[in-house]
């Protein structure tokens, strides 16, 4: 594994290796001294073309816990701004001596361009690109789900996948890089996926995806999912006729208190609620649901650091071994 660009091209073997190493990394996070010397002397650049405090600090914490040096490069650029080109930025990082580039970009495929061109040699980690993929988010979701699934089945997590687990992903699938990355990864790990959304917020070709489509959230909950992943509804969708208004969206596709209670009515004691954050409380998720005992939202955040440590460790220590040979 030279780069981490998408979960679509991630093998089951690599996915499970990342999750298993993340289990070890998570143990570090519980120690008093939360630091390993693994990447001492190596430089990780967080190259963010789009604001994302949560993902950036998660990657920063991950790199620092592995003793890497971290450079945060906030290259805010929009499609119309005449900022430095991606090529020039990449070549600058190459000249500075970056050992890995973690890139967040508003344009789908920007990390793939960095990886495919000769602008920079370093491993590239996709930290979310446009409406394409967000592979480390999917990996931390899978990590969270795997622990839950193993616990529910009375087994250990290590080496296992998600065979037989039923996961519903709810919300703006069309524009969600989280939904895409989760779909491919959850399928690779053996879970069954249901996408729940208004028809306007599903790609026209979603029927070609390896998942079930359901326009009705109540119906999807009655089917007994083991986990429900709620997606953020972006404000800019409100005025583009994807749905009539926020209240109607919330009534039909929001995880509100009534739906929280319905899980109990369906006898789904183990069903977990996930959200990649940041949440729109009262829109796609109620506070009652977000703060309930079913909510794994904060576990997701802490697991994110462990998973990103695992990814950086695998990409960079592998590179070190090749150099040594």
């Amino acid at each position: 594994m030279k780069h981490l660009l998408s979960t679509l091209d991630l093998s089951r073997e690599d996915a499970i290796r990342i999750l298993d190493i993340a289990e070890e990394m998570a143990a570090v996070g519980t120690r008093e001294v939360k630091k390993l010397p693994a990447l001492r002397g190596r430089t990780v650049v967080n190259l963010f073309f789009e604001d994302s405090t949560r993902t950036r600090i998660s990657f920063e914490a991950a790199a620092k816990r592995l003793s890497a040096d971290v450079i945060n490069f906030a290259a805010k650029g929009s499609s119309v701004s005449k900022g430095e080109s991606l090529k020039d930025t990449a070549q600058t990082l190459q000249a500075i001596g970056a050992d890995a580039v973690v890139i967040r970009h508003w344009a789908s495929g920007a990390p793939a361009r960095l990886a495919a061109t000769d602008w920079i040699d370093a491993p590239v980690v996709n930290a979310g690109d446009g409406t394409h993929e967000h592979p480390t988010q999917a990996l931390l979701d899978a990590f969270t789900l795997r622990r839950h699934w193993a616990r529910a089945n009375g087994t250990g997590s290590l080496g296992t996948g998600l065979a037989g687990m039923k996961v519903a992903i709810v919300g703006d699938i069309l524009h969600s890089r989280v939904a895409r990355s989760n779909l491919w990864l959850l399928r690779t790990l053996g879970a069954e996926v249901t996408m729940v959304a208004p028809p306007t917020l599903l790609p026209v070709a979603a029927d070609s995806w390896p998942c079930t489509i359901n326009y009705d959230l109540d119906d999807a909950l009655a089917a007994g999912p083991d986990a429900v992943m709620m997606l953020r509804v972006q404000a800019e969708r409100m005025n583009a006729a994807f749905f009539p208004n926020a209240r109607e969206y919330s009534r039909r596709w929001g995880f509100d208190d009534a739906r929280l209670a319905a899980l109990d009515d369906h006898g789904l004691a183990q069903t977990l609620i996930l959200h990649p954050g940041p949440m729109n409380r009262g829109l796609e998720i109620s506070s009652g649901a977000a703060d309930s005992s079913r909510s794994a939202v904060l576990d997701q955040v802490s697991n994110g650091v462990a998973v990103r440590m695992a990814v950086l460790y695998l990409l960079l220590s592998g590179d070190q071994q090749r150099t040594a040979n």
Binding site: L8, S79, S85, L86, K87, H105, W106, A107, S108, G109, A110, A112, R113, A116, T117, D129, G130, T131, H132, E133, R177, R180, P203, V204, A205, A206, S208, W209
Partner: protein, 447 residues
């Protein structure tokens, strides 16, 4: 093939005319002086330069209805000089220069400038296309009559790159150009359905997270326009048809006797949206690369006459416009120097068409649509000597860095293709010999 000099008369020996009959051709004074046994027997043959053309196919010079020469305004991307060199190398003897220059070709002054630059370069006939609307803004008609009456004698009008989406304006344009036998070449793209669109909307766009460009955005405009053309009894030309549904609408319109012609690009006959998975912007183009079933429908439509012509949509861009994120990249591909080979590969080697059909779709019909009297003519005595000699057995690997166009944005980079242009004769003079540029035929730009 040996030559001692490149001016005067030429005796082309043993060429296969349209791959049908083998004959000699004598070129003299800009015309085909004689064909067959008469050629060698002609008194002028003795002093003529002999071109041995055994194994070569002779075709009428290719005519492109859809070329972006970028001048005036974007001389960093292409100039009339470099673009027409590329055209000659590709086997063309005439190109239509699209109107989206800067300033836009929406006045007699700009179209005469482009026409004049073409005459001074002397590699091919450059026929400017006039903008339908002022500044391509889609608000009011350009001075279409003034452009028609200018020395550039514009007959093809297009806002290419932008759709004339206002139905009333489109109707008026179709009606108005009847006064001087013009044609409106429509870039069929419903603007609201394609806001921010990046690639064909379908299975691949769903995976890649790139905003979709639905087929219906093209098809709905074509459906509207053929009905408008029927209503007002005008000629309509549809640029770069890219979907199976568009083909079906055009077929329907032709069956009803509507005066519609349609064009397809070489790249839409060969490439699909699967290539976008690389996110390499060399595959970013408008209209976008579509699905395999669209490609097959376009090939079938070109073979059965539903689609009339090949138009290259040659769209050179400087490298910085492509060495970037997909969403930032410019749309367009070069095409002049690969058109013949791609069409041979996609259409002739698949058995769908013959070389005679090739002559029809790349020369005869485009010349008729553009009302070019000296182009697209038969290979017969007395006709203008605009012709090309092709080695159909040649194989070559596309290397954009060696092309005459300034654009390096060829989507065929690295592909091995059949067929090579060995010589191009423009007004009886070889602009290309032995597959390389020879010399032009500059004409007085003020004539």
């Amino acid at each position: 093939m040996t030559t001692t000099h490149t001016t005067g008369d030429f005796l082309i020996r043993g060429a296969s005319l349209l791959a049908e009959t083998t004959a000699d051709l004598l070129l003299s004074d800009g015309r085909i002086a004689a064909v067959g046994p008469d050629a060698a027997a002609d008194a002028r043959a003795a002093a003529a330069t002999v071109i041995e053309a055994n194994g070569l196919v002779a075709l009428p010079g290719m005519v492109d209805l859809h070329t972006h020469l970028r001048e005036p305004g974007r001389e960093d991307a292409e100039t009339v000089e470099t673009g027409t060199r590329a055209a000659a190398l590709g086997g063309f003897t005439a190109v239509h220069a699209m109107a989206n220059s800067n300033p836009v070709a929406d006045t007699a002054g700009v179209v005469e400038q482009v026409w004049s630059l073409g005459r001074r370069s002397g590699w091919v006939d450059v026929r400017p296309v006039g903008a339908v609307t002022v500044g391509l803004a889609g608000e009011r008609l350009s001075e279409l009559g003034a452009m028609a009456d200018s020395r550039a004698r514009v007959r093809v009008f297009s806002d290419d790159g932008i759709c004339v989406s206002d139905p009333v304006l489109m109707r008026r344009a179709l009606e108005y150009v009847k006064a001087f036998d013009g044609v409106i070449a429509q870039h069929a793209q419903e603007p609201r359905l394609t806001e921010g669109a990046q690639m064909n909307e379908g299975e691949v766009s769903a995976v890649l997270g790139l905003a979709g460009w639905p087929a219906v955005a093209e098809e709905s405009i074509i459906a509207r326009d053929v009905l408008l053309a029927q209503h007002v009894g005008s000629r309509l030309h549809v640029c770069h048809v890219s979907t199976k549904g568009s083909v079906e609408i055009i077929r329907w319109a032709k069956e009803r006797g509507i005066q519609v012609t349609a064009e397809v690009t070489p790249h839409h006959l060969l490439l699909t949206d699967e290539l976008v998975r690389t996110y390499d912007p060399v595959y970013k183009v408008n209209p976008p690369l579509r699905r395999e079933e669209d490609v097959m429908a376009l090939r079938a439509a070109l073979a059965d006459g539903t689609i009339d012509v090949i138009g290259t949509d040659h769209a050179p861009h400087p490298s910085e416009s492509k060495e970037c994120e997909w969403a930032q990249a410019a749309m367009g591909m070069t095409g002049l120097e690969t058109a013949l080979s791609v069409v041979q590969h996609a259409m002739i080697e698949t058995g769908l068409i013959t070389w005679a059909d090739f002559a029809r779709i790349t020369s005869t019909v485009p010349a008729t649509i553009g009302r070019l009297e000296d182009q697209g003519r038969p290979l017969a005595a007395g006709e203008p000597a605009n012709l090309v000699l092709v080695d159909p057995a040649a194989r070559w690997t596309v290397d954009p860095s060696t092309m005459a166009t300034k654009g390096r944005n060829s989507p065929f980079r690295g592909l091995e293709l059949p067929g090579a242009v060995v010589a191009t004769f423009y007004r009886g003079h070889p602009t290309v010999l032995d597959g390389a540029l020879n010399t032009p035929v500059p004409l007085d730009g003020e004539a």
